[in-house]
């Protein structure tokens, strides 16, 4: 305490304080002078301008929503377009008794309570003088009906507005996605200035992923109105800037072929252009019609979609996680060669089962009586499980994980579509962390034939196949080819994002095995070879489905089908110059070779033929 008094110098302190007061006062004078200058600018220089705006008139500001960008496929066919439709809108400020007006409108045009509620929410967000949407897609009849009684509805009018339309409906619903009305949750985080006058926002698919580009920039009009609130004159206009148009790498013709070929099966087909990473086909069946979502799907319709056992809203190509079955075998064979734990000529006798040392349990081959003496080529061609049990054991789970991870098994491919899932490629660490259990050798074996914990998405399979056909060059798959706006064009994709270090000889050997799957004498997809002039390399897969027993009680007939295995097939072609990689999953399709392979064949054939036609 003594020190404090020793240091304090009251005189110096008060002198310092005085100087600070003077500084502060000077600062204040400057700032007040600044305010006065601004006031002079507004009240003297700008007086005439503002007086005109103020005099007897009122300035209203009304938003000019931008036109949303169009989504095209790679050949310029519109997948999402803007169609003019009639919509019924209300300007709350001009309506004396809003509740009464709404009640009368509801009676006149048979509007659901839901829509009224939605309108009320929207209205609270908008300014009272903004036109707010009540009903969309009015039929000619409805427009006529309203036109007759219009004089009794001041502040209510029918407008021709552009509304999103998806001409291909369910065919590309999972890729393109849809727009819907902005909901309350979205309002919390949206940059509201950008969305003035816009009622819709991308909810899924490309519409959501590329929302920022598609939206455009809102403009506005400053309108002068007279005492009766009639527009007299437009004072200033800031034009809206339309959203960018987006061209996809998707080919809607191929998409249709894939979608139709899946026919009665639920499942997915993905095809990737190997050289560019562009996604040609991204089909998930069943699809759904996205159009009702634009104007606001009714609760009943939505519930029907959601409760359907076929789950049409579920994007199987992107989010469906399936055991890959034997389709992992080419990759694991390559791993064996790369890590040097085996060689291509290594032979093994397959008695139809495999046993771990000192364990009684028999791990069965799909062929009850065994494949006999097989080398790696035979093992891939005939899909010998025993050979791969042995290989998996030699590799160990952690090496398998490490190798498969490079091909994006168990992690997102990074496609430009929201909602991608990781899938799962197990490892000892994963099991310890998520299951709190040690890894068992038997689990290594079944991982070797793509069963057990392993889960892949159709996209991951197609991507891995493309990376293999590309000799380890990994190109992130993408759906958007280019984004084109008034002042710029942005081309996307084509770049190699990673290179998996692989020996060419090893890949050649694996491709040889995969080619024999289709073209070899005992190949599991031999029927594909019949009608084609080029060579396809592929691998079939059959994934066991474990269904809950309780379900049997409910539906006896459906159970048989539901218990059937998933059919899988991966392929690329032509072998000598790979262009297209495909992955097919047909849920409960039974066998990969008989169900999934022909679908892949149709896609590949159509793609290669159309390319041939294109080159004279």
């Amino acid at each position: 305490m003594d020190r404090k008094f020793a240091i304090k110098d009251p005189l110096a302190e008060s002198r310092l304080f005085l100087s600070r007061i003077v500084s502060a006062f000077i600062l204040i004078l400057f700032l007040i002078a600044g305010l006065v200058i601004r006031l002079v600018y507004l009240q003297v220089v700008g007086h005439e301008h503002y007086a005109t705006l103020s005099k007897d008139n009122r300035i209203k500001i009304s938003p000019l929503p931008p036109t949303r960008g169009v989504i095209y496929d790679r050949k310029g066919r519109m997948l999402a377009e803007n169609v003019p439709t009639y919509s019924l809108e209300l300007i709350p400020e001009q309506i004396e008794n809003l509740d009464d007006t709404l009640a009368r409108l509801q009676k006149l045009l048979d509007i659901s309570d839901e829509k009224i509620e939605l309108f009320q929410k929207q209205r609270k967000r908008n300014k009272a003088f903004t036109s707010t949407l009540l009903l969309q897609n009015l039929s000619d009849e409805e427009v006529a009906k309203f036109a007759v009684v219009r004089p009794y509805f001041p502040g209510v009018d029918v407008y021709a507005r552009l509304v999103r339309h998806y001409p291909y409906a369910d065919l590309a619903s999972h890729v393109v996605g849809y727009v819907g009305r902005i909901n309350e949750k979205e309002m919390q985080t949206l940059p509201l200035a950008k969305y003035r006058g816009t009622n819709h926002i991308g909810k899924t698919g490309i519409e959501k992923t590329y929302e920022e580009h598609l939206l455009g920039t809102a403009g506005y009009e400053e309108i002068e109105t007279n005492a009766q609130a009639r527009a007299v004159n437009t004072v200033a206009t800031v034009e809206p800037v339309a959203g960018s148009n987006i061209y996809l790498t998707l080919d809607i013709d191929l998409q249709k072929i894939a979608y139709d070929a899946l026919s009665e099966f639920n499942g997915a087909a993905v095809a990737i252009e190997i050289k560019t990473g562009g996604v040609l086909v991204f089909a998930s069946r069943p699809g759904f019609d996205p159009n009702p979502f634009v104007s606001g799907i009714s609760g009943k319709e939505y519930k029907a979609l959601q409760d359907s056992p076929d789950q049409p809203l579920y994007n199987r190509a992107l989010r469906g996680q399936y055991p890959p079955g034997s389709t992992v075998k080419p990759f694991l064979a390559l791993a064996g060669l790369e890590y040097g734990v085996t060689d291509f000529g290594h032979r093994l006798f397959c008695p139809g089962y495999y046993k771990l040392p000192n364990v009684d349990h028999k791990y069965r081959d799909w062929k009850k009586w065994g494949h006999g003496m097989v080398d790696m080529n035979d093992a891939i061609t005939q899909s010998c499980d025993v050979y791969f049990y042995d290989l998996a054991l030699a590799l160990g789970i952690d090496k398998m994980h490490e190798f498969m991870d490079r091909f994006s098994f168990g992690r997102k491919t990074g496609i430009d579509l929201v909602g991608e899932v990781d899938g799962l490629m197990p490892s000892k660490e994963w099991k310890k962390h998520y299951r709190s259990q040690a890894w068992f050798p038997g689990e290594t074996l079944i991982t070797g034939i793509g069963q057990g914990y392993t889960q892949v998405t159709p996209l991951q399979l197609a991507h891995a196949t493309a990376s293999l056909a590309n000799y380890g060059k990994v190109i992130t798959p993408h759906l958007v080819h280019s984004i084109i706006s008034a002042d710029y064009a942005d081309l996307i994709g084509g770049k190699a994002d990673a290179l998996i270090p692989l020996k060419k000889q090893n890949i050649d050997n694996i491709i040889k095995g995969m080619t024999n799957v289709v073209h070899g004498a005992r190949g599991t997809a031999g029927r594909l070879a019949k009608a084609i002039t080029y060579q396809i390399a592929g691998k079939t897969g059959t994934a066991q489905v474990f269904t809950i027993k309780q379900e049997e009680k409910y539906n006896e007939d459906a159970i048989d089908f539901k218990m059937r295995d998933h059919a899988l097939f991966i392929a690329f072609a032509p072998v000598h110059d790979p262009q297209i990689a495909v992955a097919i999953i047909a849920e409960h399709g039974g066998h990969g070779g008989s169900v999934a392979a022909p679908i892949a064949g149709e896609i590949i054939d159509a793609y290669l033929n159309q390319n041939k036609e294109a080159q004279p």
Binding site: I7, P10, A24, I32, V36, V44, H47, L53, P191
Partner: protein, 376 residues
């Protein structure tokens, strides 16, 4: 006639002067405040749609605030000094209570409801924060050492963050500036201030980098409201039309068409200056600014005359914060500053800010009227 009046004038100062001295009222400051309050009634009558009940409520609050001012003026500044820490602690605790209650009710909350009485702890922080910092710094020698500057900044940060989170950016800004003003008057080195400004400026891009897209957009709209003419920019556009159309002489009392047509939002609260500018023009505006400047000058005079460090720092800070109020509000209304909810001091309709402002002036008067006059 003339002589009579002269006599009255001659006699009144001694009688009235004595009365005011016993009331501990500083006459020049008091007159300044009364003039501003009178202006407030005049403009509020017009801006509030010529409703008497509104004026009555305003008058009631003003009366209460004046009473509080006089009560505080009676308290010896020594007492303020000794209560600084306790008062500040209570404020911070109340802010925490508000934050916790806000958490529970899942919404923004500024009010503390005691059943019979609702109040905003953040308002009282406007006075208690500078008191606390002034107390803290006056305990040590001035100019403050770096560690004391850091200590003062830490003390300030807690309430400022709590208020900013409510979210009430306007009040957070005022609390922060009141504390910063104390540091400035205590003699914070110019280099240190320059350093802080540079550091803040260089941190902005870093902060920007960590923000999400929508947060960036919010900031951009905040900085430039005219980018959102349907939202925040709407106020500014209407306010500019009101002010600009007022011209040099104004449209005259009750002549504001923008407010009358209900086109200028918040015309009796935050945007009341726009109505004033429309009706009384540039002359009126400059007059009001001069009036504010006179009040601030008197407060600075009181600060310079103060006899101890604590009083000096507190007086200086209260005076400066009063100016910040004026500047931020008018700057916002004339479209040079972002829109933050800060009322025009003593003029805008609204209770709490008036009470705290008057409390501040009460403290200033206390400081001035409790001086020990040294025999010359």
């Amino acid at each position: 006639m003339r002589t009579e009046m002269r006599n009255e004038q001659f006699q009144s100062p001694s009688v009235l002067g004595n009365l005011l001295r016993t009331l501990h009222i500083d006459i020049p400051l008091f007159i300044g405040l009364l003039l501003i309050c009178a202006t407030s009634f005049v403009i509020l009558y017009s801006a509030g749609g010529q409703e008497m009940p509104l004026l009555v409520r305003h008058a009631t609050r003003m009366g209460f605030a004046m009473l509080l001012m006089i009560v505080l003026a009676h308290i010896n500044p020594r007492r303020f000094q000794s209560f600084s820490v306790a008062l500040f602690s209570v404020c911070v605790l109340l802010l925490i209570a508000v934050a916790v209650m806000g958490q529970i009710s899942m919404g923004a909350q500024r009010w503390l409801d005691l059943g019979f009485f609702r109040f905003q702890p953040s308002e009282f922080t406007k006075v208690s924060a500078p008191m606390m910092v002034a107390w803290y710094l006056s305990e040590h020698a001035l100019p403050p050492k770096p560690k004391h500057v850091v200590g003062a900044a830490t003390l300030l940060l807690l309430p400022v963050l709590l208020i900013a989170k409510q979210p009430d950016l306007g009040t957070a800004l005022l609390v922060a500036s009141s504390g910063a003003a104390v540091l400035f008057f205590a003699g914070l080195s110019w280099w240190f201030m320059l350093g802080c400004v540079t550091l803040l400026a260089s941190l902005t891009p870093v902060l920007w980098h960590f923000m999400r897209e929508y947060q960036r957009n919010r900031v951009l709209t905040f900085m430039n409201p005219e980018a959102d003419p349907m939202g925040a920019g709407y106020h500014i556009i209407q306010s500019k039309i009101a002010i600009g159309s007022g011209g040099i002489n104004g449209k005259g009392w009750l002549g504001s068409s923008q407010a009358e047509l209900d086109f200028l939002p918040e015309s009796s609260t935050d945007f009341i200056f726009a109505v004033f500018a429309e009706e009384f023009g540039l002359f009126g505006c400059v007059g009001l600014l001069v009036l504010y400047l006179l009040v601030i000058s008197r407060c600075f005079y009181i600060a310079v005359q103060a006899q101890d460090t604590y009083s000096r720092l507190l007086a200086g800070s209260l005076a400066f914060t009063f100016f910040v109020y004026v500047f931020v509000n008018i700057g916002m209304v004339i479209g040079v500053l972002p829109v933050v909810g800060v009322p025009l001091p003593l003029v805008s309709y609204g209770g709490t800010s008036m009470v705290t402002l008057m409390a501040g002036f009460g403290i200033l008067m206390s400081i001035h009227t409790h001086r020990k006059l040294l025999p010359v």
